[in-house]
Structures are given as C-alpha cells and as structure tokens.
Symmetry: D2
Subunit: 396 residues, 4 copies
C-alpha cells in the first residue's frame, strides 16, 4: 500500500498532518468533563464555519448520508411532501432516501450540469397554496457534476412564494470550502461530513438545525433513535452523547475548525477558487469541457471533465490508479463513462495540484487522447504564478 | 489533557499501539481495489471472531446503537412483536428503541443483577402458538450491571418452544472478549462495536446476519437507508460502500481481528477471565459485593461493584477522575449511585489492572469507606502471581 | 512486542503523547527558516531549564555520552589534569573516557552510595597551588546508585580553594527533573540527554557552555569535528547545523521545554520528589534499604534498592520482564546483583508508579523474598493520598 | 508549518508512512531481549544492503559526519597519511576532518563536476613504495555536485599499485539508492546515514567495517570513546549498546532494510535511475546543464543544475520555499550561487517528481530565466510514460 501521492478524489481529502495527529488520540472517558472540552468547542467551531449565530449543531458518528437521514427523520412524517430537483447523483440519492422513508417527493428533473432551478422552485411553491410541501431539498454542490447552485436564489424563491417549507441544504462538498451562509440564507437544516472541507477521515455526519427545524421535530413521526437530535441535545447538556462518541474525530473536528477560522473563511474560499481556477485553466488548455454548464455553476471543490464521445472516461481513473498510483473520481449515474473528476478541495497546494494535472495528462495521452503533454500543466502554472497564494507571499 | 493512565471504563478500551497505527491512515481512494484489500479481510476476520462460517458481516460507520437499529429496521415492520427482558440499562435502551420504531415489545422485567430469564422466554414463546413474536432480543453482557447471560439457554428456549422467532443478540461488550458462538447458538443478528473487544476507537457498528435474518429483510417495512444491509451488500460486491466508509477504522478492525485470531480466541477469553478474576478477588478483599447476583453471571469484561447503603458510588468515579486522573464507570439507571464499575476488557495487563485496583482503594479511603489500603491489591496480586499470564510464561 | 505497561527504567522515560507527536514529523528542509523556528526556541527553552541566562546551548544528534565527549574535547588538551570522584558507574565511565582521551585524572574513590566528597575536592584543589587541575568533574545524579550530589558544595569547594578549574556537571539524569542551577552554581559545562527529564527518545546530547568554557575551547587541542562547538555555533548563526540535524527530536525538545516551563520548574521538581517519596515509602515498608547512604543524597529520579545478601537482585529485573512485562533497572558495576533500580522520572503518575511498586512486590514474593504483598503499595498509597498531586487538585 | 508538499532536497528524504510509524515507538527497555530483536535484524539488513557477507555493521546515534569520524578515529593515528581527492563540498569536509584530527592528507584537487581520479590515485599509490599512505578516501556520490564516482576503479587502482592502504568510502548519499558493493569492491569502511537511501529521519551513523579495518583498530591511536567500535561490538554481544541507543530509529532502520530488500536492491537502483532520468530530461528541455561533467558520472540521487552566468541559482531555492513551499538544495562551496539541486532519492514517485519539476519551472520563469512553462514537465512526462514504473504495472 503506497501513500506517497496526494489523492484527487472529491473527498475524503488529503488530511493535514495536524489533523491526523488530532484524530489519533488515546482513549479518554467520554463521560468526563474532558470530553466536554472537545465537544463544545467543536460544535461552536462548526457553527462559525456555517456562518450562523443560532444553528444547533449535532455531530453523529456517521457520514453525510446519515446527515441526510437525520434531516428527514427528525423533521418529517411518512407521506409528507418534499420538493427536490435532481441534477446529479447526490441529489438523486437524497430523493431516493426520501422515497424509501415514505415521503412524497415532487422531483424537478434538471439537466446534469445545471444548477438548481430556483425559478421552477418558485413556480411550484407559489402554486402550492395549501402548503403541502414541507421541505425543499437543495444540493449546494453536486459532487457528481462539479456544479454549485445558488442557495440564496432558492431562499428567494421560498420567500417570493411566501412559502413556509423548510429549506434543507446538502453542503457535504461545499461547507468549509465554498461560501455557505446558514443564517443569511435562512437554511433550516445544513448537512456536512467530516471528510470534505473539514479535511478529516470519514466518520462524522455534521448537521445544523434552525429553530424552525427544531420546532418541526416535535411533530415529525418518522421513526428515529440513532439519529434523534433530541437524544443528542440532551446528551450534550451533560457533556455527553446518548451513546459512545467518536472522540478522536471530534477532537480532529475541533482542530479543523480552529485551522479554518484562523485562516479566515473568506481566505479559505479564495484559496479553493484559486486552486480550482488553475485546474480549469488546464482543462481549457486540453481543449476539453467541464460537465458544469456555465462558469456561474463551476464548483470550486471538484471538476467533472467531459471526455470526447466514444471514449470511456472511467479508463482514465483506472489507468491513473494502476499506472501512476493516483486517485481521480469516476463519473457516476448519467455521466458514468462520460466524465472523470478531479477533486480539488481541502488540503491542497499549487504543487500538489500540478502533479494531479500532470498525471491526468499522461493518462489521457497513454489512452490515445489528443492532448499535448505539459499543456495543461503550463496553463495552470501560468495562472498560479501570476496569482500566487496569499499566505506564502506574506510569509516571504 | 493527560493520557498517561490507563482507562478502566467498560469501553472504549485502552487502544493497543498497533491498532492506533492501523487506524491512523492517510487517505486512499475508497472506490479502488486497495480498499477491497482492507474491507474483505476485515469482514472475514469479524466472521471468525463471531465463530461463524455463514454470517454475513456488515460494518457501518456508526456505533453499537446503530447496530441495534440495523437489526431492527432491516428485519421488522411497524407493529411487529418483540420479546425482550429488561435487566439493565442497555437492554432497556434497546427496548426503548423498539418502541420508538413502533414495535410491540413484550417486556420481561428482570432484576438488575440477574441474567436473562431463559425459562420465562420459553414459557412465553410456548404460549405464543400463533408465532406473533418475530424477534427475541438478548443482551449477552449487560454492561451496566456486569452481568453475562446464557445465550445457549435462550436458544434452547426458542427450540424447546418450537418457535421460529429470530434471535438478536447484543454482543457489544462481549464479542471479542468473551465466548460468543454465532453458529452454535443459531444467532440471527449479532451486534458489536469497534470500541470494546476489538480495542479500537468508537465509530463502527459491526453486525452479523444469518441467512434467516437476510430472508426477513425482504418483507421488513421499517424505513431504512443509511443502515440498509442490501445497499451495503451491493456495495461490498463492488469493493465499495454505498457512501464513504471509515477506511482507517476498517483497517484497524482488520488488524484487530488478526491480533485476536493470532492469539487464539480461547486464549483471549481466558485472558479476560484471568484479569477479571483478579478484580473480583480485590472486591472480595474489600468486603464488597458485585451487582451481579451470582458467579455464573459474572461478566469478564466489566464489574459493577456495590457500595454500602448511604454512600454515593458515583463520588468514587468523580474523585478518581479529579484526584488521580483515572476513569471508572458510574452506575446507570436503577443502579445509579449504588455501584461503580471497573472495565477490564481489551488491552489490559496485570500491571495495568493493579493500578486501577490501587486507585479504587485510594478513592474509597479518601471518601471515608472502611477499606484497607493495599488489601484489594494484595488479593489481586496473589491471584495473578499464582496464575501467571500464559503468553509471558512462554516468552520466558 | 507489547507496549502496554509503563517502563520503570531510569531513562528513557515514558514518553508523553504530545512529545511522541512532536517528534514524529515529516521531513522539512533543515536549511530553511522554518528550521530556525524550531532550533532557536528549543535552545532558549533548554537554557531556561538549566536556570541560566548566559549558557550557550548546543544540541548534538548523539547521547549523554556524546555530551561528555563534547565537554572534554572542546575544553581540554591531551595530558591535562582532571579531578573526579568515582561513586558509581556513570562517574566511572566519564573518568574512563578522560583516560582514553589522554587526560590525567586524579580520582577520588568514593563509596558507591555516597555523594560527591566536596570537602576532599576542596583539599585537593587547595593543594593544587599551581593550578594544574583544569577541570573538576561532578556527576549530579549517579543513576547507578540513585545518589544525588550537592553541586553547590562542589562550587563552594572551588571557590574556597580559589581555584580556576572549570566545573563540568553531568546532569543527564537530573536536569529537567531535579533542581539544577547553571548560573547560581557557576557551572561551566552541563551535560544532559533527551531521554530523561526531557521525556523524549534517546538521540540528543544537550550541553550548556559558560563563557569561561567557551574561552577554554580556544586552546583546547583534543581533536574534534563532530562534537566541535564552534562549528555548531557557526551553523546556528545561519539557522543551520554543520551537518544534518535530528529535526523531529529538536521539535520534541522544543515542545518538552514548553511543557516543563509551563508547569513551572519548581512544580516539576516537587512532582518528582513526591513520586519518589512514595517509592521510598514502599521500600521502607518492605524492610529494605536504598543504596543511597542517607536521605540527603536520595535521588528523586531513580531508587537503587538493596536486596538481602545472597539474593541476586538482577533476578527481579529478569523476572519482571519475563513474567509481568515490566522493565526495571539492574545494578551496574560494583553493585551489580546487589541492587535493582526503579526509575521514577519524567512522565509518571501516582497510578503508574503504584503499578511498578505492585510488580516489584510480586517479583520479590515470586523469588522467595520475605515481602508482604500489598505492603509497599499501601505505604505509597497512603503517602500519595495524603499528599495529592497539586495539578489535579486544582483541576477539580 | 506546512507539510503538504514533498521535499526535493538531497536528504533527508520524504519518509514513507511505514517508516514514520516504525520510528514512532513507545519506550522499551534497551537492555532487554526485545531490543536485540530490533538491533540484530537491523544490522543484518544493513549488511545485505551493503552487499556484504562479512562487514561488521555499527550504528551510532549520530549522522554521516559521525560515521566519517568513526572511520578515521578507529583506524588511524595522528600523523598517519591519507590520500583523498577533493571534488565537492563533502569530500572537502571529510578532508578537513582528517586535518583537524592531525592526519596528513595528500589532496588530489579535482574539478567540481568530475568523478574521483582513479588513475591519479594509482600513480600516487604506485609511487608510495614505502606504503606511508594508510587510507584512501573515496566519496561515492558527491552530493554537492551530483557526481557519482567509480569505486571499482579506485579499488583497481589500489590493486594495480599493490598497495595495502585501507579504502574508506563515503556512501552517505548512495547506499540504499545506487549500486554499492562492499565485498566486490573490497571496501574497508563504508559510511552511510539514516536519512538518505534508508528514508528515515537523520540521527544514525551507519558504518560497515571489513576484517582488515577491524585489524587496524588495534593500533589506531586517535582518541575515541563515543565512536569506539569495540565498545559498540561488546555491547552488541549483550543485545545492548555502550550507552542509550536510539531505539525508534533502529526499529525504523530494520523496517527500511526489510522494505528495500523486499523490493530487491536492483529494483531499488533501477527505480532511482528511472526517476533521475526524468529529471535530467527536464533539465535538457530547459536548455540547462548539469554540474556533473558527463553522463557516466550523473548521480541518480541528486542533480546539481547550472544556471546561466550572472544569475544567482540560490534565488531559485529561496523563491521556491517562500512562494511555493517547496524545498530544493542550494549550491555549496565552489558552486554556491551557480547551481541549484533537485534531490531525487528515497521515497519518490513520478507524480511527486513532476510536481518538483513544475515548481522549478515556475521559479525560473518568475525570476526571469528564459524557460518555457511546462517544457521540463513534458519531457519528464514523456520519459515516465514510455518507461512506466515496473511495480505499478505488475499491480495492474
């Protein structure tokens, strides 16, 4: 097993040294005051990363998928109506989960590559005069297509329709990497995981609940125990969990928030934009297109890159792993075989990114695509050197 | 934060050095063949630890509580009848989970300190001629009272009644430390966690399903997605998970199974019995009693020790933490304040155990109990030296 | 290989978690400014631990023995006269090193168990009217016998004699654990290692040089390159080393100093005295004697314990390792077979110490000594509980 | 402090994950049998890496410089004559060490960029009919100039002259990375360090002594204690050291040898040649020259790259560190400011190397050199993809 090369999957990310050490913790008593000194700062840190003064933050030993289930089961009852657009694999899966929990999902089919259709949401919500729709789902960043959506616009759609539905936002691959505004956007439930913007191993579902979402829990009848936010809240009040917490990961989360906040969230976001722009410069130099339909929806955490018709994009991913020991992401669902993905979130530098771009180039040439070696690298180099990383400039 | 002393809570245990290192892993692509080289051996290892040739093993990024929920939601439908005895906090919580998921639990109230009443089970099952009871719950080791139960007897009760109900066993604090026989006992669902006998950090729910349990999943109507065993099974067939796995913990689990199997399960169990016997010798020397009613139900992973009437046993735990930096377990539920608990499972030696016994003595004397310093230590020393650990003898 | 039990050798000590992590560092460029940010604070930290405002601190990738050689080769020429007392194995070895480097050592044979004979030093120095003696060697803490010496008295001897000889002090097993005053005692060269009071792995020789010692280097003719303090000083001026430094250990040393200074040196010393007093209470309860002749020379970092005539003390050490997996120290040189040693320096708690005492008891009983199990433990428990650790009291 | 990017200094190298974990070890008793289970396999492993059946391997807590001193002080007496060529900073420093130890060095000044002049050695040795020359020094790989020398030719020169001088070879930056044949070349002392081919942190001097060298120790009169090979040998016979060993590093060394030998030494060497050839392709594409005069002396562990007249090559190193967080090596001594160095030894992949090449390109363009971005990367990519790494091909 070789761990020498960085990974370029859209999460889990490369883990910073300090976070590996924060997670690798000896056993402590999770019912002791010591645990509170990890738990509470971690929760406060997450709230700040969410840009919220009010969100109640809950952290489950689980993953983002568990976070979705937390959102649904705590706020809804079987038969409740949910509005959701399907524009990629992850929005698809959340919808699927709704259906498996007996919810009635009104699906807005949306081209994979497009952002969420806020205008369609507004039409539907306006038409729903009896307010049957209890929740609007919004995938902030579709990891499958490399598409970010305008959550502020979704909020505006709700407001314009004067609709009281809750707004649930999947921020798994955006929170901690791209601008996310829990309070400004009046998000009701935000869902994140440890393994993306927080740069930790997978193993935590991280959710923020608004007061309105907490209110909804009182009547929500879907069965829940493991993901019950009230059990969790009661535990937190006693420096504890309703069961055994993943203490090391929580310690890592606390440290991750400290790191992100010390850097400054706007700087973190700018850093992701900068790294992503270099990758996009390479894609452009290769003469390829992103799956994302237009620059306003380009994701800063992952780029899904379309390969020419007749070429199986998945071969790039397989070849990169086998020949160069580098991990990229395959296309999923509708875009399987049509795109490969370069994850560029979390702990990445220019230098690491250039090695990923160089590897993609070699793979494409190896597999017969008409790509000039060094072309994407040169384009990214040019961007990076003309737009040097702020922090290192200051350190000079 | 000091990590110098061992912990004496009944899980998470002290983590062996090799397992800390196995868990502390850089990011790999969890969709690559490399991941399969961790996942499949880990699952095979767990199956061997369960003493099963046939169990389907599923591992969720969760905890034992999530394992309970996995068992219930995959095999049952709302309104289904469940038989369960309540003889401690953990059996109580599993019953509570059943009720919150709309199951109809027939509860056999059992004194806290007793084992499961297999004879009562047999009477009830025999009386259930229409086979309304779908599942019998059995807590193998009640962590709250330090009581182990006879699962073979529960199986015999089912067989004597000719009853087809599924047998679900909570082995969270027994599996990997005390004898557990999935196949011999015809267990249908076994539930474990990473943080007890497997000596890892919390973060994994580990379950084994029998063929009969898998069959039951086909008609089970409780909603489930995160804990769905079919999604998980489909993932495993592709070296993958339905979502992001906790790779480092799985790597640790693989290594933990390798360690346990290399030592030999019977040796592991004997080691736990030996360490536990020393603790019980100390309790006896102190003139105190265990919560466990009789020697046949003494747990080898945790001892709940009764303190004299009028004394708050929880003070021992608080004082040990504050004054000596040592973690014991408090009493829970019915025995809160009446017992304190010494966990003695997983990675422990004579030497570590003696330090825990010595600390308990100091605390009891500090708090005014009539205990002779050194008395419990001497009793345990005498036992340990007359019954030396097999492995070290051989190494001599 | 089991790492479960604490070690009770007189160094290397148990390594605190934070120091293990500080040492376990990825490669950085040791010629970069980053390295200076480790090196210089580490050197400043050591100087504070030495209680010096003026000592020049040099840190070699070596051990305490290399520190001795640094002292000799940088300040002396072949044929130079050195005054030294031999009262244990480590003073013996330093004398041997002198002789192998062609120095003329005037040896004051001193009973093993006694401290340095400051009065004899004074007589000899007073008699040396032509100031042939260039250096006086003083072993602050004889690790072999568990004897500390009064360095202030040695300084007074020099002063009373009006003698200009340099004072070299071996503080390998005292610095960072017992009071050491470089400036107050006008020490000229102090020698320490990373693996004792600094609680790190072995691998660093740490020395402090006075201005007078630096002056002596100008005429010292013993050959030296690796241990040359001028090469080292020149390197430091450029944030560098004359060769490749042990960066991780230096990072650990920096952190170790931070920890010691944050606790407060006097608190560190008091903590060692307290732990040592508990061990001595156990020895007393066993009816045994220390090798150290009288309380004023009792070491707070290691106790050498005499066993009855006709008993081979080394058997205790062998038996403890083989049967209980615990490391004590054997007797060395003149006291080989007559004593065994319990190291009690660095990262230790009451709880860990009690486990060492309990193990020693079991070993002695196993080997037929007339010791009552639990007796030493009880004596130490009584001392520890009546004199609780300051830090934990405050944390309550 | 950021640890995200690989380093490209010519040692210490990037440390493989497995070696970081092997070094990061809890304290064990270095006088216990356990220590022998680390020490002896490590020594045997080193001997195999040296391609020797007979060398006595000694490992000091020190660095390569200490290894030089070990060689000199154990085999020579003040006034002894030594033959050495000076063709770079490291040969210069070893000569300097000789002189500081009172040895009489006949220096063959050799252009920096050339290999060792075996023919001149032969002339001088032939002329030395009275065999005054006791030792011939040979720097196998001049880390300062990226020049490897033909040690077999030096051996032939000695043989042709029928001269009995000992052959000391500095293999610090070759052993474990480039072909080294202790027995075939009749090397008498080989010197290595932990931080190059063994891919560990700095902290070990590793030396191999021939029987002839061991014989020479009997009459060698240079003073030595810390570096005395007889003290060390005596310690080894007792599973011990004459002082405290660096146990974690020795454990790492044992593991490093296991890794190198499992890969196969010829495969290790081929891997280094392959990576180095890619770097040289990039240098060629940039239109720059190596300091090494001709292909037969190109080092496979480090390339010293000449920059145009009037350009300060050190600026590249400074700029790379400050702007891109990447470490290259500066020019030293005669070639200071004229070359910068890319280390390419130890734990490196194509992908990591490409990121170093890409960074060097950006730096050179940033600093005004007429280099085309992507040009060196493309040349290296082309080489790497047409000559894929054997190991990964097989893994496919």
């Amino acid at each position: 097993m070789s761990f020498q090369n960085p990974v370029f999957i859209p999460g889990p990310t490369n883990i910073p040294e300090a976070l590996r050490k924060a997670c690798d913790m000896p056993t402590i008593d999770h019912r002791s005051p010591l645990f509170g000194q990890i738990l509470h700062p971690a929760r406060r840190g997450v709230r700040q990363v969410l840009k919220s003064d009010t969100a109640k933050v809950f952290i489950f030993p689980s993953t983002g998928t568990g976070g979705w289930e937390t959102a649904l089961t705590n706020c809804l009852s079987a038969g409740d109506k949910v509005l959701a657009a399907r524009n990629g694999m992850f929005s698809h899966r959340w919808i699927d989960m709704c259906q498996r929990h007996g919810l009635d999902v009104q699906i807005v089919e949306t081209p994979w590559g497009d952002g969420l259709p806020a205008d369609r949401y507004e039409e539907i919500l306006t038409a729903d005069t009896s307010h049957q729709i209890k929740v609007v789902l919004a995938t902030h960043n579709e990891t499958a297509t490399g598409v970010k959506s305008d959550i502020a616009a979704v909020r505006k759609a709700l407001d314009a329709a004067g609709h009281p539905a809750l707004l649930f936002v999947d921020g798994v691959s955006s929170i901690g990497s791209m601008d996310f505004r829990f309070d400004d956007w009046s998000v009701d439930v935000a869902v994140a995981g440890s393994q993306k913007g927080f740069m930790l191993p997978a193993g935590l579902a991280i959710v923020g609940f608004s007061a309105k979402a907490m209110e909804a829990t009182k009547t929500a009848a879907l069965p829940r125990t493991f993901f019950d936010v009230h059990d969790m809240a009661k535990g937190y009040d006693n420096n504890a969990y309703p069961y055994t917490p993943a203490v090391g990961l929580l310690n890592g989360l606390n440290e991750a928030c400290t790191m992100l906040l010390a850097e400054g969230l706007e700087n973190v976001f700018a850093r992701h934009t900068r790294i992503a722009t270099g990758v996009r410069a390479a894609v452009d130099a290769w003469g390829l297109n992103l799956c994302a339909a237009s620059p306003d929806v380009y994701s800063d955490t992952v780029s899904a890159i379309c390969t020419p018709d007749g070429f199986n994009a998945t071969d790039i991913v397989t070849h990169a792993a086998e020949t160069y020991g580098v991990a990229f992401g395959v296309g999923l669902g509708e875009v399987a075989g049509k795109v490969f993905r370069i994850g560029h979130l979390g702990s990445l530098t220019d230098v690491m990114t250039l090695s990923g771009i160089a590897t993609a180039e070699m793979c494409m040439v190896d597999l017969g695509l008409d790509i000039k070696l060094g072309s994407g690298v040169a384009a990214a180099q040019e961007f990076y050197r003309l737009n040097p990383a702020a922090r290192l400039q200051n350190a000079a």
